[in-house]
Amino acid sequence: MALSHIASVKYYGVSACVPKTVLRVADYEKYTPEKAALFSKQTGIVERRWAKDGLIASDMCLKAAQDLLADLKWDPGSLDGIIFVSQSMDYPLPATACILQNRLGAPKSCLAFDIGMGCSGYVYGSAVAASMVSSMRLKRLLLLVGDNAISFLTPESTSSYPLFGDAGTATAMGFDEQAPEMFFDLNTDGSGYHHIIRKYGGFRHPIDGPEAFEFKDVPDAPGAKMRGVDSYVAGAPIMEFAMREVKPSVLRVLGEAGLSPEQVDFMFAHQANRLINETVRKMAKIAPEKHPYSLTHYGNTSAPSIPLTMVAGAAQALRERSVTSLLTGFGVGLSWGSAVIRTRQISCPPIAEI
């Protein structure tokens, strides 16, 4: 069982960057005003940010990282590690983290690699980052988590397109023997890999013929169309998956940390949609005021949704107080995980816009 606690890792801070361009659900040309209002009421998503004109995940992560380094007064030359978590890499190869090492001005002695995960990516990335910081005694590591989630879909995919938004984030961790332990619970069910999938563009289905670009009906979504290169999201199976798996994962990690739900200051959950999140929150017995949302103004941003929610929904508390956070990410894979992280007056600069 992938349930563990990791000692001697200090969580120094978190930051986020979003594109300037706002896409309002009310302006989505495929919806009537009534449909748009109903969609926003049900999903909680009013608008999201769109990285257009070539802006990509690593650009947003770079800006978030620069703001965080400045706020922490960390010289980029002092970095020991960079981990980039995304499903929107710069190139199929090389790893985007290598390019970011150079763009950030980090030294050659800095380790750098990518992790290709989505909705659960922040919990997975944090577990890998914390493990390496703890075992390798890395003083300064950046975990950069971002996605171009809007580009995963076509506007013709009317059941899913208005859910998603683009964002990049940065998290700073480092070795500190005085730091409180972090707790992680990590899980996988690959039998559900087809419930959230972008079929074309990898080696299984290369983009080498017209079938990757032919519009076809989206299953169980009347009127919606998508191509092979677009992502498919099956709403009902994902809802069932979240209802089945998230609560046990949350209870395992809280048990490992010796905490009850009442002792948690915040539950930062992957921002799927309000229906799924409210169901998960109620099942975990977390009070509504302890479960902030970033999806109202930023949508479902995939991997960066948890750190974006921390910055958008709890910046003041994170800056000023000691905070016990419960993190839970769930989705594409299928993959899910939860964490308990305790922080004390961390760096949390305002959300940057580029």
């Binding site: 109903l38 969609f39 009421k41 049900q42 999903t43 059941s159 169980d220 979504a221 009347p222 709403g235 009902a236 199976p237 809802m239 069932e240 209802m243 089945r244 949609n273 229906l275 799924i276 409210e278 169901t279 109620k282 099942m283």
Partner: protein, 74 residues
């Protein structure tokens, strides 16, 4: 049945203004879509404390079937 209808109207936005009876073939209403299905699953989880699979809801002929389904899991 009255409670189930109240719960649906209060929690499933798409059904808010629809006249519902025990015999309503709700999954074939024009207002029924994927978000209505998710809302119904969420309502059943929070109001009745049981998880009902989407395929089982899709198989209901009317609200009597849905009520029977919920009661079978409680």
């Amino acid at each position: 049945m009255e409670t189930l209808i109240e719960n649906l109207k209060a929690n499933v936005d798409a059904l808010e203004d629809v006249e519902l009876t025990a015999q309503t073939d709700f999954v074939h209403l024009p207002q029924w879509d994927s978000l209505a299905l998710l809302s119904t699953m969420a309502m059943i989880a929070s109001e009745y404390g049981v998880n009902i699979e989407s395929q089982a809801i899709a198989g209901c002929k009317n609200l009597v079937d849905l009520e029977t389904l919920i009661n079978s899991k409680r």
